[in-house]
């Protein structure tokens, strides 16, 4: 569908029409006629028929939630996950602190140090889920695709912190090495077929 008709703001040129509402009856006779028409048109029975038909069709739309779950979209922004590198299993997070900086509700806190190999290492990383608004900026800004939004939306727990300690968010090492880590297609991650969609930087101007 073309967007043309939505972008045309010249009111009056489009094919708008006003809704056809009957005039309200004024005289007693007109009122009576309307009552009679509504009474004998059998609209009430149409209503009865419709619900009865639906009952016999038995086309039930209920999702019995704890037993059945609807799939959520891959770009849904639920509890964060910290990813590891494939094969080596090292943590992807390089401690750059961008997520901490960009977080608009100030809920990410991290501590880093320089380790023996003079590489930066994350010592503390936590997200205060009481403050997090799940905007997804942290995942979007992460240069290493280390922090992503997972699909875990069932957040009932005794402690909010249960979800957001670094160890809980981090993929276990064995999972990453054996190649079972889910490369998350969600917010902040590279979308599929990104290669084909990449365009050359226009240099013409």
């Amino acid at each position: 569908m073309s967007m043309e008709q939505f972008q045309d703001r010249n009111v009056g040129k489009q094919n708008y029409f006003t809704v056809d509402i009957e005039d309200y009856p004024v005289t007693g006779m007109d009122k009576f006629r309307r009552v009679a028409k509504r009474t004998f048109r059998g609209e009430l029975f149409v209503g009865l028929w419709v619900v009865l038909r639906e009952m016999f069709k038995f086309d039930i739309h209920t999702v019995q939630y704890p037993k059945e779950k609807l799939p959520i979209g891959p770009r849904y922004r639920a509890i964060h996950q910290m990813q590891r590198l494939w094969e080596s299993g090292t943590e992807r997070c390089i401690g750059c602190g961008l997520c901490e900086k960009i977080c608009i509700s100030d809920c990410i806190r991290m501590d880093t140090r320089i380790d023996e190999n003079s590489r930066k290492e994350v010592t503390e990383y936590s997200i205060n889920l009481g403050r997090c608004i799940f905007c997804g900026y942290c995942a979007e800004v992460c240069p290493e695709l280390a922090i992503v939004h997972g699909g875990e939306y069932e957040n009932a727990s005794e402690q909010r912190a249960h979800f957001t300690l670094y160890e809980d968010m981090l993929t276990p090492v064995d999972e990453a090495i054996s190649g079972k880590q889910k490369e998350f297609p969600g917010f902040g991650a590279i979308t599929p077929y990104e290669d084909e969609r990449v365009k050359k930087t226009p240099l013409a101007y």
Partner: protein, 328 residues
């Protein structure tokens, strides 16, 4: 009066109370299921197979909840109001023949507690006293929603009492008796609904108002006045209102089936089954309309009663009178 008769009557009363209290519970289950299916939902599913034990869960909840008497209510009236609703509903059942006569171990059982010769008058009258449940409960609750509901209850019940009474007059004129068993026997050739279709429609419409069911559900209209007269109630007192409402639905269904739809016919086993089938259908109809139809406004309800239904009912009586007079 001999002892056997008294014992028999007491047994009948106990059976009736137990059966219809249980049926009221099942009524809530059926209502939730039927409404759910009509709205493409599943209804209660988790407690027991297909949610069947939901009734037990609800019962346990109602019985064990704290019975709250809020501040500022008129406590004695507040406490007695639900009892009035439930009691009048069951009292009305005394004159209703629920099944034809049958013989059990060589003893003839008549499944009617008292075949009084003013059966219909008694049933309709006692059901009308049920008005005092919502009215007193609503007025004693010290709650504005309840007060509105009480006002509506008074206006609706009193208005539709008129329609019920007038609608029943013409069948009574034809039968010449107020006993429900006579009414049933009168219809052995053809059902009353064929000779009195207008009275039947009027009575069914009035029955919806009397029981406060959906097209006329404005006494406890959840979406505008919370639960109306039931807003301040909790626990089993609220449950009594509910039992009363559902028992009333069943009794009105029995009444409609007996007066207009042939009742139990000749009193055979098949006839008894037919009566139960008719009652089941009428009860289903109560639920069916709830899924299909919107509610009307209180003023529309009054308009319908006084300006439409009552004149039609009176015309019906006049025409019936002429027919009875000239045809014998």
């Amino acid at each position: 009066m001999d002892v056997a008769f008294i014992i028999e009557t007491i047994i009948k009363i106990v059976v009736l109370l137990l059966v219809f209290s249980a049926l009221a519970g099942f009524g809530t289950y059926f209502e939730r299921k039927v409404l759910a299916f009509m709205q493409r939902r599943l209804g209660p599913m988790h407690v027991g197979p297909y949610g069947l034990l939901q009734i037990a869960a609800d019962g346990v909840k109602l019985f064990t909840k704290e019975d709250i008497i809020p501040q500022n209510v008129v406590a004695p009236i507040f406490k007695i109001a639900p009892v009035i609703t439930a009691a009048t509903a069951f009292m009305a059942a005394a004159a209703i023949p629920f099944l034809p006569e049958f013989t059990l171990f060589g003893y003839t059982v008549r499944p009617i507690i008292a075949d009084v010769n003013i059966g219909v008058l008694y049933v309709v009258g006692v059901m009308a006293i049920g008005l005092y449940g919502p009215l007193l409960g609503g007025m004693a609750s010290a709650n504005k929603w309840s007060l509105i509901s009480a006002a509506r209850a008074a206006s609706v019940f009193i208005s539709y009492e008129v329609v019920t009474g007038l609608a029943l007059l013409s069948p009574i004129m034809l039968v010449g008796s107020l006993s429900l068993i006579d009414m049933n026997n009168y219809q052995s050739d053809s059902w009353m609904v064929w000779s009195q279709p207008v009275a039947f429609v009027l009575f069914v419409i009035a029955a919806f108002a009397e029981t406060g069911r959906t097209p006329f559900h404005l006494i406890a209209n959840d979406h505008e006045i919370i639960d109306g007269f039931g807003t301040e109630y909790s626990g089993m007192r609220w449950g009594l209102f509910f039992i009363g409402e559902y028992a009333n639905m069943f009794f009105i269904s029995f009444l409609t089936a007996l007066i207009f739809l042939g009742g139990f016919g000749d009193g055979s086993f098949l006839g008894a089954l037919a009566l139960l089938g008719k009652v089941a259908f009428l009860f289903f109809f109560f639920l069916w309309t709830r899924a299909a139809w919107p509610d009307v406004r209180p003023d529309q309800l009054m308009w319908l009663c006084w300006k439409v239904l009552m004149p039609i009912a009176i015309l019906n009586i006049v025409v019936t009178g002429f027919v009875v007079m000239f045809k014998g």
